[in-house]
């Protein structure tokens, strides 16, 4: 009992900080989203007016559409690349240790560093494009950063580069977890190559896939730093994502109420992914 009390005493400061900085500010933001707050917070209640403004704002609609395009690529590409790399590494390659280190390396960088580096690499005048031109292909152009349609995919390039190694690690762990005797049995039954992969290996990677999705989806919704350093939402607002919109409105445009409303929508989006998972997990624990 005494031990229990000590443990609790150690946890309380952390819980307190968590309560204040997470739930406290969540509630405050929720309240602000219902007020007329502009430059500074105010307690002038306006109901759902801010949400109405938000939904009618073409900039917000564009940000949601961009998020859809971004997440689609940001989830599918790392899954495909990560799985491919993991399968490759699982062939008992000689340089596995080195390759794993190289592929995991981008994870060690923050999005800000990744974004800044890719900003130079993708610079239409000075980056990779200029390198290719100086090699002799003088008509070469790679100016996604300057194109309204393609700027979102410039974000995808940097983000996928960053996260694919992590997804690979998840899949690799999954692959290593597959019982060797099961593979042997399948091989004895004549399964090999593609068939073995599709029928035996992939079905067992379910948990890895699930973990990867649970990391990728919220990460896509929360993407902010990458937009700031790579495109600043531009050209125009062509690569603006919701989190960037929220920051712009709340802190640059003095529309705190509107920014709060947009962040509440973001929270709900993340929760809609995280809550079902939490519920499933807690159910499983009860039955177990």
């Amino acid at each position: 009992m005494n031990e229990r009390r000590t443990a609790l005493a150690c946890l309380i400061p952390l819980l307190l900080i968590g309560a204040v900085f997470f739930y406290g500010f969540l509630l405050w933001t929720g309240w602000l989203s219902l007020t007329r707050s502009n430059l500074l917070p105010s307690n002038d209640f306006v109901g759902l007016k801010q949400y109405e403004r938000l939904l009618l704002d073409p900039r917000w609609q564009a940000a949601l559409w961009n998020l859809l395009r971004f997440s689609f690529a940001f989830v599918l590409l790392p899954l495909a690349i990560g799985l491919g790399l993991a399968l490759l590494l699982d062939q008992r390659l000689r340089g596995e240790g080195l390759l794993r280190w190289v592929w995991l390396h981008p994870m060690a960088l923050s999005m800000v560093v990744t974004g800044s580096a890719w900003r130079w690499l993708m610079d239409p005048e000075q980056g990779i494009a200029e390198g290719v031109r100086s090699l002799g292909w003088t008509g070469f152009r790679w100016d996604w950063l300057a194109q309204e349609e393609m700027a979102v995919y410039a974000l995808v390039v940097a983000a996928v580069w960053q996260i694919s190694g992590f997804v690979m690690a998840l899949f690799l762990a999954g692959l290593r977890g597959i019982d060797e005797s099961m593979l042997q049995a399948a091989r004895l039954d004549g399964a090999a190559g593609w068939k073995l992969l599709r029928r035996v290996i992939l079905p067992q990677l379910g948990p890895s896939l699930f973990s990867a999705l649970l990391v990728l989806l919220p990460a896509a919704i929360k993407t902010f730093d990458l937009v700031v350093v790579l495109t600043e939402g531009g050209p125009g607002q062509a690569s603006e994502l919701p989190a960037f919109y929220m920051f712009q409105m709340a802190f640059e445009r003095s529309r705190l109420g509107l920014g709060a409303a947009s962040s509440m929508v973001l929270v709900m989006m993340v929760l809609s992914i995280a809550l079902p998972y939490a519920i499933v997990r807690s159910r499983r624990r009860v039955t177990a």
Binding site: P13, N38, E252, R253, S254
Partner: protein, 408 residues
């Protein structure tokens, strides 16, 4: 448990409050570049000479400074004065401002009208002081490049298009521009003022006249605005205005539209106005002076009102005003300030400013006149339209009208 909670809260409060203020007055600002920092040092010295103990807190980036300023208000430790880029009424609605008194009021009344109105709150009490004026509708020309190709500085937009086309044929980038929305706004304002004049600008953009915004003339102006994109390069997305000025200094570009802060870049590179580079009003703008001005807003802190009033009075004096402007690169606000020591570009700007004031034709920048939502919306539409290949001028007109109608 409660004691623990209390202690945590108290520690938090301390963290948020930051260091206690020792000086009498504190100025929060974002003037951090070389010339700006020199101006702040001079400002402090001037305060000291007048017997005011002034502490300055610098934050890099105006949006960071604004965020910190708001946080300081929320935590109950507001500075006594701050640099502001917002219309004064936005602050006046949010927090109580200081009343700088009749002496400062009289000095403000002697300033150009367009400036003076932005320094008083809703009850006509003076609550802010101006530091210096920046002309925004300036065309910076690379005389070295123009001379090589036998071209001159264009005086109107038709001439600008002809010159730019000739430069394109010669393989020179006609127009250097960066990624910020403000630089596109400068182009747009230059076109509206240069093609349609001051009255149209006032009625269509400032007062958001729906008929003018939806009219043929606005469509043509928007079309011409985007046609300028043909004179720019794809590299614009990853440079700021200094990067664009650097293109001129490297001899790779011929023109740039930006405020008179660019003057310092040319001077630093040792370029002489009229010989190596030139600074003229945007094409067709003639003597129209479209400007913004740096200003300090004073917050209500009754215990420090005396010092606030003394500092405000000091900063309004002609010689202080001239010294600060010379260091920062603009022109003095006061009409009677001595202009010796200012270079040709600043002299020309000051002459146009004074003449414009005499004719009653000064044009104060949109940033100080539109509400924040409308101003932000205008910049959004212009930069989206500039970036887009598909948005038609008519669609841009509709969005422009929506943006300018917004109330804060």
């Amino acid at each position: 448990m409660t004691r623990l909670a209390l202690a945590s809260v108290r520690a938090l409060a301390l963290l948020l409050a930051g260091v206690a203020q020792a000086a009498d007055l504190e100025l929060l600002h974002s003037w951090t570049s070389g010339s700006e920092a020199a101006m702040v040092t001079e400002l402090k010295a001037a305060a000291q000479r007048g017997g005011v103990d002034l502490k300055t807190t610098a934050v890099a980036g105006s949006s960071n400074a604004n965020t910190l300023l708001k946080a300081r208000f929320l935590s109950g430790h507001a500075p006594t004065l701050a640099q502001t880029d917002k219309p004064l009424r936005i602050w006046a609605e949010a927090v109580p401002l200081a009343d700088l008194g009749p002496d400062v009021g009289a000095q403000i009344a002697a300033l150009p009208h367009a400036v003076a109105v932005e320094l008083r709150d809703a009850r006509h009490k003076p609550a802010a002081v101006p530091l210096n004026v920046h002309r925004l509708n300036t065309l910076w020309s690379n005389r070295r490049v123009l001379r090589v190709h036998g071209l001159g500085v264009p005086q109107d937009w038709d001439e600008f298009h002809r010159t730019a086309a000739a430069l394109l044929r010669a393989g020179v980038l006609p127009l250097a521009i960066g990624s910020s929305a403000g630089q596109k706004l400068s182009l747009f304002v230059g076109i509206v003022l240069g093609r349609a004049g001051r009255d149209f600008f006032e009625r269509a953009v400032v007062q958001a006249d729906p008929a003018l915004l939806a009219g043929e003339r606005m469509a043509a102006l928007l079309q011409e605005f985007r046609s300028l994109k043909g004179y720019t390069d794809a590299g614009q997305v990853s440079r700021d205005w200094t990067g664009a000025t650097a293109l001129l200094l490297q001899g790779r570009a011929a023109f740039q539209f930006t405020g008179d802060w660019a003057n310092g870049e040319f001077q630093k590179a040792g370029w002489r106005p009229g010989v190596d580079y030139d600074c003229t009003a945007a094409p067709g703008n003639g003597g129209l002076h479209y400007f913004e001005f740096d200003r300090l807003v004073f917050f209500a802190q009754p215990a420090r009102l005396g010092s606030q009033q003394r500092l405000a009075g000091l900063l309004l004096q002609a010689d202080t005003s001239a010294r600060l402007a010379r260091l920062k690169g603009g022109i003095p606000v006061r009409r009677d300030a001595d202009l010796s020591g200012f270079n040709a570009c600043a002299q020309r700007s000051a002459a146009d400013f004074r003449a414009g004031e005499a004719r009653g034709e000064l044009v104060l920048a949109l940033s100080a006149r539109l509400g924040e939502s409308a101003y932000g919306g205008l910049r959004d539409v212009l930069s989206a339209y500039w970036a887009s290949e598909r948005m038609t001028p008519q669609q841009a007109q509709t969005r422009l009208a929506q943006a300018l109608r917004q109330k804060d």
